[in-house]
Symmetry: C2
Subunit: 271 residues, 2 copies
């Protein structure tokens, strides 16, 4: 089976000119089949603010009303995605920008209002708005773009964190979840490695100490790390996605620095 690398890169990396350039270099020189999944939350917050639209987050997730949906559709699908595509093309990578709506690659449904535990421990009913929870990904269509075939050139998908509901609506979908969805969908045709990269060297025992990277986490140690408060905040949904991927056929999941996506460094997720 051919190998493929699915790289998820966070907003903080792609929204800074210098780190975006480094990431593009790292990703462009990575050999073999590959897919890039990106975020863009900071740009969305910035553009929303310029438009007089307030960004409201609950548990690290964006409340997406109709105005905010317009913003994320513009920013993720247009501004961030096309900038990455053009930068990769300049490096000779045959990038193609995609959302879940394009070729119906990832379909979702609008999330129902649900009970959420707030930071202060209280429970509250939250309507996340136009947020999509993934129902189905079309791995074959993605694979058909990725693989060269009969003169059809191989492409490198650059996936924005947007899905659609099949009824004409774009929905905002968490980029970590998008990456896990893409990785799982590709397992039928590829031996998949999923790498979550960001501006830290991995999951750290001490957030202040870059030398404290935890080399591997399994379900047991994950429970302990959560109980001890070492893993918290946005790292929890990321790790939940990582464990979900590993138990759904993805061969290897790594959390690492964006400069280390070609190296064997960072935190490896084990069953």
């Amino acid at each position: 089976m051919d190998k493929i690398n699915v790289i998820k890169v966070g907003g903080a990396v792609v929204e800074n000119e210098a780190s975006l350039k480094e990431l593009i270099n790292q990703f462009a020189t990575m050999p073999g089949y590959k897919v890039l999944v990106h975020g863009g939350g900071r740009s969305a917050t910035r553009i929303a603010a310029q438009l007089g639209i307030e960004s409201r987050m609950v548990g690290g997730r964006r409340i997406t009303d109709e105005d905010m949906l317009q913003v994320v559709t513009m920013v993720y699908g247009g501004l961030v995605n096309k900038r990455i595509v053009a930068a990769l093309q300049a490096k000779g990578v045959n990038a193609i920008g995609l959302t879940g709506a394009d070729m119906d690659i990832i379909r979702s449904h609008k999330r129902e209002p649900k009970m959420v535990t707030m930071d202060d421990g209280t429970q509250e009913m939250v309507d996340f708005g136009f947020v999509g929870d993934v129902d189905h990904a079309n791995g074959q269509r993605l694979a058909s773009l990725v693989k060269a075939k009969d003169g059809i050139e191989a492409a490198v998908p650059v996936v924005a964190p947007l899905t659609h509901d099949g009824m004409g609506n774009i929905l905002n979908t968490n980029a970590d979840t998008m990456a896990a969805t893409v990785a799982k969908a590709l397992t039928e045709e590829f031996d998949v490695t999923l790498t979550y990269c960001f501006e830290k060297p991995g999951v750290m025992a001490d957030a202040e100490d870059d030398d404290s990277v935890i080399p591997s986490i399994n379900t047991e140690s994950y429970a302990r790390l959560k109980a001890d408060g070492i893993v918290s905040g946005g790292m929890i949904p990321k790790l939940d996605n990582a464990f979900d991927s590993i138990s759904s056929g993805v061969k290897r999941v790594v959390i690492t620095h964006f400069m280390d996506i070609q190296a064997s460094m960072g935190t490896v997720i084990e069953k």
Copy 2:
């Protein structure tokens, strides 16, 4: 040779909910291979205004400084494009959104400042900014997406008026020119019909009279219509693109109402 329809639809149609819905219905039910090329200038002007960015036009063309480039990248590549893609998917059309940067489909170079005749007849040096004049279109890659092949599903490209320069920069490119570029690039593999559709029934002898559609225009009558002032403004670059397409291998060019793209109505362009 297989037939293909390249439909260019103006911003005024796609930016109005009701007319967009009608267009989507017309386009979705159109049989055979097809491509949709869209504008989005009014949305760009609206979002730019909300961001405090002034839209400056010279001869119907947008001056695209760095801020405006961000706006058009977001609006054309994200907001307008993904809305159309999701709406077509809801009708069972396997739409895929593209800019010229995606799969390197259309490459351009930044327009040098040039002398332009202003509305008052004076000449002025104008720097259009990040505007791309097309150098090359990759018809084979477009055709590879359009044609089903060995289990790779046929896709319907939805093209936004953005190109790239191969050096990492997105450039703003006129949507009528994009449509002509796409149509010409597809002539190697298809018998191409290019249809410019908008909210009028065709090129009209009297702008106020919908019954005054000119059934056909050739180069001779075009010169006369221009001299008489019957054809003016934004219709001139559109017709220039139409004649350029016809003399470059496109089989048929029609200018018609967006409700008539499946009918044999409107103005036909002849050599």
